[in-house]
Symmetry: C2
Subunit: 92 residues, 2 copies
DNA sequence: AATCTAATTAGATATTTGTCTAAATTATAG
DNA sequence: CTATAATTTAGACAAATATCTAATTAGATT
């Protein structure tokens, strides 16, 4: 179970920012990197962690790699937190 | 804004376990510790991180310190994730 | 085939994190 | 007011994390 990995992936601000960027739609690694003051290698490192946590997936196309958000794992986080928060709002 | 702190607090499995224990009700530091194979000092360290993240709060009573879950910050996490997940289920 | 481009991998390193033992704190109970 | 109990704080340290530069891989274009 990769649940622990997912929480750890979410713990870094750069990675959360990447996920926010991907809300709009898929983006190449380079495009993602251009939003940060970090080397491509570092971006690549963060993308790998997000990928391992199954928070994003990649599609290779030409010589670009496009990344997209995988909301189904976000769904699992929501359930865990919702359960933690308790029953005061059972509609989730 | 302690939002980043909260995600980091949630990243550790022992800390998530502590939160789960507190779902049932408040518990003293020692009682919490008895559920783990760690020294009291280490439990204290984790409690401090959860407290700084405002995921729990403490009440001193006699010579015990009782910890309880603070669900309002959990609520903030839920909102962030819900927004990330997108609009396919707007009821939250 | 040679070269250029996008991205990743490898290796190094400083910082952060989780853990321990030992000491200090704080309140209760004799 | 001293001894005990619950917890935290301090200091040390190994492991994990985030970052960089340099090298490598995989495709695309000429």
């Amino acid at each position: 179970m990769a649940f622990a990995e997912t929480f750890k992936a979410l713990a870094d601000p750069a990675r959360r920012e990447i996920l926010t960027l991907l809300k709009v739609g898929r983006m190449s690694a380079g495009e993602i990197g251009s939003h940060f003051d970090m080397t491509g290698a570092t971006i690549s490192y963060h993308l790998k962690i997000l990928k391992n946590a199954e928070l994003i997936y990649e599609e290779k196309e030409k010589n670009f790699i496009y990344y997209s958000l995988n909301t189904s794992v976000v769904e699992d986080m929501l359930l865990w937190l919702s359960d933690l928060r308790g029953d005061q709002d059972e509609k989730n």
